[in-house]
């Protein structure tokens, strides 16, 4: 084998989450009311567009979650020894982005630049010294020394647009065939419906945003190996690479946090609401106490403590990636502990309402046991609250990660995330001349991700909240 697969804890949880999503999709297919609610999401152009953009982010994040350790080349003369794997944990995304990951410059360079951003003193070939912007090692080296950058970029971009249009046509054809099969009215009808925005689901919006995403991706594919499209940071790393790697961290924080706290919030919330009495009192006491501690301070205290645990037990982790992954997972748990109270209170309130409804009373009168009632009658009817909480919390958590990492109580400094990118670049705007690209890239990626998540969350809430029918 040329590699050894590595399954980090957060990878595992992400895969569990994807599996849950697939199971839920199967479940939705079989239940008409759920299908109707999701159809409402699909009918809103905003929902479809936001979902398409989110899907692109999820694909990036999932590619970045397939980890492995590459096989090191065998040492000469010891061919029979056991294979040795590198201590660096890579992901499939790293392999795809190998040119970006490996083509490190010496320090800052602007987007599409061919020279470093700062002057350096270099020895001239004919003797003497000069203060010049030294040429980059990788950015734009395919050009002649005096050739301008803009025409070449324009040429490449035209090719990229061509590719994107091809991809879009292909997607359009696929969607048309799909719509034609469900409508049963022929391909041309379906295509015309989609173009006019008359199809049941808002496919036109989805295709437009898919086209934009395809354009960005193909532009990145053609340009990124030749230039540093978003420049390089202080140690010469490509900013586009850092931004793409940050996506996974954001997704992990945004989803795993809710996932790990979900069992507690659901179990305690329903138990408090349904059982009442001292159980209710105890659970209410628990979440009032946790709520009383200001969130940031509880997180800070817990992260400081976790840091001590991780630092005093270095032997738990085989590679640096596993250590930073443990810290990421711990951060998810800590954020989960501070944020489950809100969901728990909502579920308690809803259960209080549900337990007095006729069908629950009837089930009780028939002698159904409490666990059965909770599982069959209460749980399915509070699931919409859980779903809404899951999508509503996502964007807040992504934003919180950046702030926490900035404060120094977020992810491990070696984990690439929007927060660590901003943290590294915080003094760059004050420099003369100003370095603006790493901050802008981090903020722009974060803005698109959070905006898409916010819009999607709104549409989901509108579709599932019965009060907003």
């Amino acid at each position: 084998m040329h590699f050894q697969p590595v399954l980090l804890w957060t990878d595992l949880l992400l895969f569990v989450l994807v599996a849950c999503a697939l199971l839920m999709a199967l479940h939705v297919r079989r239940h008409e009311p759920l299908r109707a609610a999701w159809r409402k999401v699909g009918q809103r152009p905003v929902g479809m567009a936001a979902a398409t953009v989110l899907l692109a982010f999820v694909v990036i994040g999932m590619l970045d979650s397939l980890h492995y350790r590459p096989l090191l080349p065998a040492v000469e003369g010891r061919a029979d020894s056991a294979p040795v794997y590198g201590s660096e944990v890579l992901s499939v995304l790293d392999t795809v982005l190998a040119p970006l990951r490996l083509n490190n410059e010496k320090t800052y360079s602007a987007p599409f630049a061919r020279t470093l951003y700062q002057r350096e003193t270099v020895e001239l070939a004919e003797g003497g010294q000069a203060r010049i912007h030294p040429p980059l090692q990788y950015g734009g080296v395919h050009l002649q020394p005096d050739e301008p950058v803009a025409p070449d970029v324009a040429r490449q971009l035209i090719a990229a647009v061509g590719q994107a249009v091809l991809v879009l046509m292909l997607l359009f054809a696929l969607v048309s065939i799909g719509v034609a099969r469900t409508q049963g009215r022929g391909l041309r009808h379906a295509a015309a419906d989609i173009l006019a925005g008359r199809s049941t689901l808002a496919w036109r919006a989805a295709l437009i945003s898919a086209g934009l995403v395809a354009l960005l991706i193909s532009a990145a594919i053609t340009l990124a190996p030749l230039y540093h499209v978003l420049g390089t940071d202080k140690v010469g790393q490509d900013v586009l690479y850092l931004s793409l790697k940050s996506v996974r961290t954001a997704l992990v924080i945004g989803t795993i946090t809710t996932l790990v706290m979900l069992p507690f919030a659901v179990a305690l919330g329903i138990a408090a609401g349904y059982l009442g009495g001292w159980v209710d009192d105890a659970i209410q006491y628990l979440y009032t106490v946790l709520n009383a501690i200001p969130g940031v301070l509880l997180i800070a205290a817990a992260v400081l403590m976790m840091q001590v645990v991780i630092d005093t037990n270095p032997h738990w982790f085989e590679t640096a990636a596993e250590r930073s992954d443990a810290r990421l997972l711990a951060l998810c748990f800590i954020l989960g502990i501070t944020s489950w109270t809100g969901l728990c209170r909502l579920l308690r309130g809803e259960t209080l309402k549900l337990r007095e409804l006729e069908y629950v009373q009837a089930a009780r009168a028939f002698g159904a046991s409490t666990p059965t009632i909770l599982r069959r009658h209460i749980l399915p009817n509070v699931m919409h609250i859980v779903l809404i909480a899951l999508v509503m919390d996502f964007s807040g958590l992504v934003l919180a990660e950046a702030v926490l990492s900035y404060v120094g109580i977020g992810v491990d400094p070696t984990t690439i995330s929007f927060g660590t990118m901003i943290n590294m670049a915080r003094a760059e705007l004050a420099r003369e001349p100003m370095v603006w690209w790493s901050l802008s890239a981090a903020f722009a990626f974060m803005f698109v991700l959070v905006l898409a998540a916010n819009l999607f969350a709104d549409v989901v809430r509108d579709a599932f909240d019965p009060r907003r029918g």
């Binding site: 501690i293 205290a301 964007s395 903020f443 803005f447």
Partner: protein, 325 residues
């Protein structure tokens, strides 16, 4: 009324004890003082003597809950739990790592924190309610639609961006106000205006949208239709009826944060170098000064509980239907 307040205050005691226990568990049981000492001194230089000295300096050398070396009540009072946890109820927080008295420091730093937090609170409450009312007045028009889009977009921007971008634009490019710093007295205005404006702007999107939902929920009720049918103008309906009734759900969110204003804002204070409680906390986190973090956790919880009680009381003021018995 008085009886109710007293009962609520009594109810706060078990919550504070819970908070106290959690913080104690977090800071002393998850990691022993030895671990903390090793980390603070540095793993390489942590000789047993250095660890012992570190613990004695900070009073961490006592047993956890029961001190068998002492007699009588000292068995319980000469312990970490009594020293570090229970004494907080008497607002004795001990000393920070730099040797200063934490309680004194907190008193000194409250004023700068409030100087930012109070104007921010009032201004953002006023602006977001006005903006929400404007959107509700023009509901189901393009103005409303784009207003909501603007709110969602503003919510999606990281607060770090508002701060970094605002500092760069206003202080560096336009050079209107100093980038950071603080003085006392009236002169502080020029240091305060930018952080206040930035914090207001950063919170505007989400709060305006939240108030808009509350107002919209209120406006679909029957009494509003009756008021319109009476021939009242839309403006009168909005201000006399909708706004007043919507105050009740608004209060739940607003009153609870008023006491927490004393805590200051972590981000804004650290970016603008304001010597308030927020930057104090951040510095303590970065320096891993556990005593200060513990003190801030305790104070934060006390303020939160005060906020809860104030919320209940404020209901009686705005809603005559609520009686506190």
């Amino acid at each position: 009324m008085l009886g109710y307040v007293l009962r609520r205050l009594l109810y706060a005691v078990p919550i504070l004890i819970g908070v106290n226990l959690i913080t104690f568990l977090l800071f002393f049981v998850v990691n022993s003082p030895d671990d903390m000492a090793r980390m603070q001194i540095g793993v390489k230089r942590a000789t047993p003597e250095a660890i012992e000295r570190w613990k004695v300096d900070r009073g961490y050398d006592k047993p956890m809950f029961v001190n068998n070396a002492q007699a009588g009540t000292a068995r319980l009072t000469e312990t970490l739990f009594y020293d570090k946890s229970l004494r907080m109820f008497a607002l004795e927080f001990g000393r920070a790592d730099d040797g200063r008295d934490i309680a004194r420091e907190i008193l000194d730093r409250m004023a700068p924190s409030l100087a930012i937090a109070l104007p921010t609170f009032i201004l953002s409450l006023f602006l977001s309610i006005s903006f929400a009312l404007l959107l509700v007045f023009f509901r189901a028009t393009y103005l409303d639609f784009w207003g909501v889009v603007l709110c969602v977009a503003m919510m999606s921007v990281s607060s770090l961006f508002y701060i970094i971008g605002g500092q760069w634009l206003v202080s560096k490019l336009w050079a209107l106000v100093p980038i950071s710093g603080y003085t006392s007295g009236l002169d502080a205005f020029r240091f305060l205006v930018l952080p206040v404006l930035i914090s207001v702007l950063a919170g505007l999107g989400s709060s305006a949208r939240w108030y808009r939902t509350i107002f919209l929920e209120e406006i679909s009720k029957d009494y509003v239709r009756t008021a319109r049918a009476k021939g009242l103008s839309e403006i009168t309906v909005l201000f006399r009826h909708v706004l007043r009734n919507a105050l009740i759900p608004v209060l739940t969110g607003v009153v609870v944060v008023i006491p927490l204003l004393f805590m200051g804002s972590l981000l804004v204070e650290s970016f603008f170098a304001i010597p308030g409680l927020g930057s104090y906390t951040i510095d303590a986190i970065n320096a891993q000064d556990f005593a200060v973090v513990r003190a801030m956790v305790f104070i934060g919880s006390v303020l939160y509980i005060i906020g809860l009680i104030l919320t209940d009381l404020s209901y009686t003021l705005v809603d005559p239907r609520v009686r506190l018995e």
